[in-house]
Amino acid sequence: MSDKKRVSRRQFLNYTLTGVGGFMAAGMLAPMVRFAIDPVLKPSGAGGLVSVASVEELTNEPQRFEWTVDQVDGWYESEVQRTAWVYRNDNDEIVALSPICTHLGCTVDYGSNEEYPDQFYCPCHAGRYTKDGVNVPGTPPTAPLPPIEYEVREGMLYLGEAQSEGGV
């Protein structure tokens, strides 16, 4: 091969065989990989709102409300419990907060620590949030408690999913 740009027979065969082999391997693996990564690409089914309590029950003090939702987990369907802390703030607006600590996902309680009676307290690593859900600087959580989607219909409070803002 005097001309450098010419492809030798050996090279040509190498390229074609690698190409055909690669094509076959890709054809074999592509469905399996797509199959495996399906959970990432599946749209998450947004859960509906559930009537939890009468709005008249709400006070200025956060109260713990529990309700159940039907959860479809692949082939397994079950009822799971959801929790929210709900109160009316000083402007008479309803505030519904998820109890899931934004640090590492433990469950926070309101006023359970005697030293901080008007804060949300996480027992795992002493994370704290003020009443409006904002994390107290200097404690482990780095983000506020996520608000929970809510709606008031005919005097009833409907709660939905926590609106996670990037993460948790």
């Binding site: 074999m28 469905p31 399996m32 797509r34 199959f35 495996a36 399906d38 692949g74 082939w75």
Partner: protein
Amino acid sequence: MLQKIYDWVDERVDITPLWRDIADHEVPEHVNPAHHFSAFVYCFGGLTFFVTVIQILSGMFLTMYYVPDIENAWNSVYYLQREVAYGQIVRGMHHWGASLVIVMLFLHTLRVFFQGAYKKPRELNWVIGVLLFFVMLGLGFTGYLLPWDNKAYFATQVGLEIAAATPIIGDQIRTLLAGDPSIVGAQTLTRFFAIHVFFLPAALFGLMAFHFVLIRKQGISGPL
């Protein structure tokens, strides 16, 4: 780029002799379909291996969704086939591949038999091949139960009765396979799953390695 990475590793670890030993050997003329088209019969062993690789890969991916439990097995199979992207294809590969591997194995066996390639000094490799055949049948038998549908259940029922027909120790064998003297149920399914996914593949890999080492050691049998 790739060449440089290869050279870097090779300089330190000297990997060239390793893969040369495995990959770099001449294909005799009488085995090469490019010379004599009828030599395609020599491909059946390699095709068996190829389908086996597909079985291993698709099986690995299927276990991402499958549950070996009588409450959930059927539902998980239904879910992975109906709801998961390409589930039908991946399960289809495993399903059809299971039959194809037996076909290829059979053709390979026929070739070796009719060419007399099993004769001295290759008798041992024939024996290993027969063992591989039994392992494949075992994989087929145990895998058949896993979807836990009616066909699977009753096929296993029949298979267990056949095993129970063994003289003297038949009942014990049946219990050993089913995990219970009379029930084909929860314990049978987990047992079959463990055998299908861990025990038989381990035996398969060992025997295949031995099979291939002997081929390299003894070479392919000469022309007819």
